[in-house]
């Protein structure tokens, strides 16, 4: 069982567990658990199984031994620091059956409860499943309170299920996406008009004694104004449609999640805290709504813009287009590389700020205790350390951000300078016009927007998948 480089369950562990199962044969297994420490806390691989009134156990390559349940008198799971041990009374002397680190602690305690119930002639209070903290297929931890693995889950199925909530509002969403296409198209038109304005009017050689034809000039300017106005109107309408649709979707999502909760079994509900359930109903549904009404249309828009501009660049000047396109993979990689560092930096800051809030909360809610023990000065010093630490982290983050981001943006924009040099020479040589140059530069500026935006897609997709 592997998760990339990780092997959460060692082959020796699997082997010993299988050996124990084989020894039990066809009989049903009431409870089985693995353990991974020896008597002196060295690594070991063992398994213990309860079948009927017998306990089967084996360690390493040793043979499978059996004990009657009735022999395990006063059996107890003793929790130490970082490990748990199973001990029982063996003829007046305490003996250890096995021990493990905390990975198997819950299963061990479940086993002990069952053995005691059998010894005391009781039935089990409720049938608990053997709990896996890690996905048995890939080793990824389950999200708390969930049995769904983030990696193994069928995402297409999840997305189809999610899109089912958007189906009643498909018309509005399609309309919003169409508006995205319109605004993207309009953003390509403006540079064209600008080029026409520069080449045919501002930079034109006077052909008549009376000067250039200004009616065309004013028409072009008004056309540019019109394009900007229409684009703005489209964006306003799109925002309103998205907001309205998004709110309806989030209501539907929250209702569906809330309706599901009372239908869950007591075992499922008790496995989750109130905070988790509330987060599911409030935050997760918000993330999903943002995914449907924000991320998906944005992917469509940015992707379309990107795919539309590239051919346009090649049509205008294929050599310059190559100059812009070739460095793109490197620039994207650079953003990806920087992204995770920045994310960690700001998470650290979040924790530092959270620590300050915790201290304030403790101090204010426990103010009587602070005063009774005369701990005012100590609390002051504690708070001062926390805010200094938060301030230091914030300063370091801002410094790093202001070092990395301007440089990264500059490097992204370096394509523009390369284009300026090459195209500039072409203008000087008369191969290109100034209008074409400005159009090209405008497209280059537009293309780097989607590129920067795409660097942050994986994180937003991850958030959405986690919430699903």
């Amino acid at each position: 069982m592997k998760h990339k480089d990780f092997q959460f369950v060692a082959p020796e562990q699997i082997a010993v567990k299988n050996r124990v199962k084989e020894a039990i044969g066809g009989d049903s297994i009431t409870s089985i658990f693995e353990y991974n420490l020896s008597f002196d806390n060295q690594r070991a691989y063992g398994a213990v199984a309860l079948s009927g009134n017998k306990v089967f156990f084996s360690e390493g390559d040793g043979e499978v031994k059996t004990l009657a349940v009735s022999d395990l008198k006063d059996i107890e799971a003793i929790c130490y620091v970082g490990c748990v041990s199973v001990e029982y009374n063996d003829g007046g002397e305490l003996r250890e059956l096995c021990r493990s680190d905390m990975l198997n602690a819950e299963n061990i305690q479940r086993f002990v409860k069952r053995v005691r119930a059998i010894n005391e002639g009781r039935s089990f209070e409720f049938d608990e499943e053997e709990k896996n903290v890690l996905c048995p297929h890939c080793g990824t931890p389950f999200r708390e309170g969930s049995k769904i693995c983030n990696k193994c889950a069928d995402r297409k199925k999840l997305v189809r299920r999610l899109m089912g909530f958007a189906k009643p509002y498909a018309t509005a969403l399609v309309f919003a996406v169409l508006l995205y296409f319109v605004t993207s198209g309009l953003s390509l038109v403006s540079p064209m008009l600008q080029a026409h304005l520069i080449d045919d009017y501002i930079n034109a050689s006077p052909v008549n004694v009376g000067g250039p034809d200004f009616s065309g000039f004013y028409l072009t300017v008004f056309a540019m104004l019109g394009v900007a106005a229409i684009s703005l109107l489209m964006r306003i309408i799109r925002s309103i449609v998205i907001a309205k649709t998004g709110n309806k979707i989030i209501v539907a999502l929250r209702k569906a999640v809330f309706d599901k909760i009372p239908m869950m079994s007591m075992g499922d509900i008790s496995r989750r805290t109130a905070g988790e359930l509330i987060t599911r109903v409030t935050s997760d549904t918000q993330v999903l709504k943002n995914f449907i009404t924000g991320l998906v249309p944005e992917i469509v828009q940015q992707g379309t813009l990107f795919l539309a501009i590239i051919p346009a660049l090649f049509v205008i000047n294929w050599k310059l287009a190559l100059l812009i396109v070739i460095p793109m993979p490197l620039i994207s990689l650079m953003f990806f590389a920087v992204r995770s560092k920045i994310r960690r930096m700001y998470r650290r800051q979040w924790h530092a700020n959270s620590n300050v809030n915790t201290i304030l909360h403790d101090a204010f809610s426990g103010i009587r205790v602070v005063k009774v023990f005369g701990m005012e000065k100590a609390e002051e010093k504690r708070f001062e350390r926390a805010i200094r630490s938060s301030a230091d982290i914030s300063f370091r983050n801002e410094r790093t951000w202001n070092l990395i981001m301007p440089v990264a943006n500059f490097l992204i924009g370096i394509g523009e300078y390369a284009v300026l040099i090459v195209a500039g020479f072409q203008v000087i040589d008369g191969v290109s016009t100034i209008g074409e140059l400005s159009q090209l530069l405008a497209y280059v500026g537009i293309i780097y927007g989607p590129l920067r935006w795409m660097a942050f897609i994986p994180r937003r997709l991850t958030e959405a998948m986690t919430s699903m």
Partner: protein
Amino acid sequence: MAKSFTELVEIVYFTPENAKFYETKNGFAALEAFIPPVVKDDLDEILAEEGGNANSGVVTTQDGGKVKKECVWQDLGRVFFHRAFPYELPDEFISVLDKDNKEHGIIRALSDFDEKSREIINKALKRKYYCPEITKIYSLKDQFGYSYWNVETDNGKMEVVLKDTFSSIARISDNFIVITDISGNRYKISDLENFDRKSYRKIELFL
């Protein structure tokens, strides 16, 4: 009956003179001690003394006065240990407890005892406190809000999964950190200053 403050805080210090540690046949630490008689079941003693503390080391006389009980050698059987200062003073102020977590006394310093006793106590402490020391970090990956560590410890190579990495690392001192994984296992790095530099850079941002 109300106990006095001194009765409440009375500490019995174990020394080689009043404590003999031995190992049971199943490898557990046990103790013979020269202390006031310890009653296994508090209820009997309380009924006899009309409300006194069975293990206080003090009895109430008929005229209402208090006298200390006579110390006797007694086999306390299997004992458990608990470090009062697990990080700062791991070998000092070790509480000796019975299975119900009632304190028999305190070992002031392990160095007070002979090698054999120290070995028995250390073995029991090692079995109680399982906290592998990380000596090297081969890889550290962040994914889905969890971090996956591939590390070398004094107990072999291990994979560690942390949920919310920042909260899972506790800074005990400038040089000492304890990491708690998703299952509750603990790992320590007791000397950050001399920690492998390449490994240190992997966790620097979390410190």
